[in-house]
């Protein structure tokens, strides 16, 4: 579109370039898109904050100050702090393995890594309950030895890692394929150790893509509901994350508390979105490969 306006010769207003719609058609389409987005995305975003502040600031803050709310906020931050670095390490390892070596079954491996994207989070939670739940052999033994996984923090971490598993690897693989192996090979012939090659050659090349993938991963990890709802057992103050607590408050008609918790979570989400957009604007070239998937 901007190209078309640049090349547009100075002509009477009635004249229309062959690659442009009539103003009526253009404005109708824009109105449909903007209107749809406003109703579907804009309005819900606004209503979260409106509802949270419907009884004033004090009530909203009080809703976040209760012991359950505080525990939920801490738990969500803890889960995110465990799951995201873990997934970043796994994502780097998987991307290194897939892009630096040739082996059979690579496409299959990539499919396996992508699998969590197309599995319902509830089914993911169910799988974890079936594997580690108290009535399975493994789960029974773990509970007996004092390390319960389901209805405890480790289960929530597992569920969160499952649903966010592909994010980092998916961002890194296209970038690392595009960059090839020659730089690393050159470093190796100069006598650098493997670790040094990774730190001084590979990492600087992939850092923005890594950050981008990590941000997507963070946004999803904080907001995950379905998988966590199944494995957490929703124990108040212990295994209730922020999204779970929103549901609890909401079902108890604690509307202000539910919406102020939702507003806080939205704030976190908007912050990651902001960082993500800043990355896209500043380092578009380093991320170029990622925009094609």
């Amino acid at each position: 579109m901007s190209d078309a306006t640049l090349h547009k010769p100075a002509t009477p207003a009635r004249f229309r370039s062959a690659t442009q719609e009539s103003p009526a058609a253009r404005w109708t389409l824009i109105a449909i898109a903007v209107g749809g987005l406003a109703l579907l995305v804009g309005a819900p975003l606004v209503i979260v904050f409106v509802e949270a502040l419907s009884r004033g600031w004090a009530a909203a803050v009080a809703g976040l100050a209760s012991r359950d709310a505080q525990a939920a906020i801490r738990l969500t931050l803890l889960i995110t702090a465990i799951a995201v670095p873990l997934n970043a390490v796994v994502g780097i390892a998987a991307a290194w393995f897939i892009t630096k070596f040739d082996f059979r079954g690579k496409a299959f491996l990539i499919t396996l890594i992508d699998l969590p994207f197309s599995i319902s989070p509830v089914v993911a939670g169910l799988c974890i309950v079936l594997l580690f739940g108290a009535n399975s052999a493994l789960g029974g033994w773990l509970v007996a030895s004092g390390y319960p996984i389901v209805f405890a923090v480790p289960g929530i971490v597992l569920a969160t890692v499952f649903v966010t598993f592909p994010f980092v690897a998916r961002e890194l693989i296209p970038v690392m394929i595009e960059q090839g192996r020659t730089e690393e090979e050159a470093a190796l012939t100069l006598g650098a150790t493997g670790w040094r090659v990774f730190r001084t050659v590979t990492l600087p090349n992939i850092r923005w893509a890594l950050l981008y993938g990590t941000l997507l991963c963070t946004a999803r990890a904080m907001g995950e509901f379905g998988a966590v709802a199944v494995v957490s057992g929703k124990i108040r103050g212990q295994t209730a994350t922020m999204p779970i607590t929103i549901e609890m408050f909401y079902n108890e008609y604690l509307s202000v508390a539910a919406f102020s918790m939702a507003a806080l979570l939205t704030g976190f989400a908007l912050l990651t979105l902001l960082l993500k957009t800043a990355l896209e604007l500043r380092h578009a070239d380093a991320l170029s490969a990622t925009r094609r998937h």
Partner: protein
């Protein structure tokens, strides 16, 4: 290249622990429960209604970052009969929240970014020259859109469509708030799994989970086939 053992080790260990073992547990549970029992569980009106609802509405159907539970209560607050927009539509006799319309709305919300994000880069890559060539050959704008632009967008649109479909079929968080969860009418398949789990009915939950897993796998297969097909056609996705 160094790091083969380390990177392969981490990848396979985590893949096994986090993805393969849990899914294996579901398949194992299914095998233990037996095909006849699985079929008996799935083949009930309530399960069919839920599976069909999840699938059918997904077909019609920022959200990337916005947590689903937040979206759920926000959409419900807006479109509930006493909400800002819900009270408007209720005046013309159109109830949105607690009906299938509400579920559809939530799924559209959840699926929106997938189509946009897959189609947008392709549109950006289309050169204006292509449209100009079409225009010089006498095509109308509508004609250009249908015969030049649409075929170029088709693979990306289909991929985005399949991705959002896969996501929408399994969506739980945003839907349960707005659905009202009336059995046979507004009860989605993932909710049915949660209900069975809360009753410690692991066999039945596993059976419905397997049915959903089968749907996910076919979606994944579809996405891969589309990508192979489009790569052959235009050389990128």
């Amino acid at each position: 290249m160094p790091g083969l053992g380390l990177s392969a080790g981490i990848t396979f260990f985590m893949l096994t622990l986090v993805v393969a073992l849990p899914i294996g547990a579901l398949l194992w549970q299914g095998a233990e429960f037996g095909a006849a029992n699985i079929w008996a569980t799935i083949n009930r009106d309530r399960v069919w209604a839920a599976l069909w609802l999840s699938f059918r509405l997904s077909f019609l159907a920022l959200p990337f970052a916005l947590p689903t539970a937040v979206a759920g209560i926000a959409l419900t607050a807006l479109y509930a009969p006493n909400g800002v927009l819900g009270s408007l539509t209720n005046q013309i006799g159109w109830q949105i929240a607690y009906t299938q319309w509400g579920i559809w709305l939530a799924l559209v919300f959840v699926g929106l970014p997938f189509v946009t994000r897959t189609v947008q880069p392709v549109i950006e890559e289309i050169e204006t020259e292509v449209e100009e060539a079409s225009a010089t050959l006498g095509a109308s704008r509508w004609h250009t859109l249908r015969h030049v632009i649409a075929p170029m967008l088709m693979p990306a649109a289909l991929t985005g469509f399949a991705l959002s479909l896969a996501r929408a079929v399994g969506e739980y968080g945003s839907v349960i708030f707005i659905a009202g969860n009336i059995p046979l009418r507004t009860e989605i398949a993932p909710l049915l799994i949660v209900i069975q789990l809360e009753e410690y009915n692991y066999g039945a939950a596993g059976a419905i989970g397997l049915a959903m897993l089968a749907i996910s796998f076919s979606m994944l297969l579809l996405i891969n086939l589309i990508q192979i097909w489009s790569r052959r056609r235009i050389g990128h996705v």
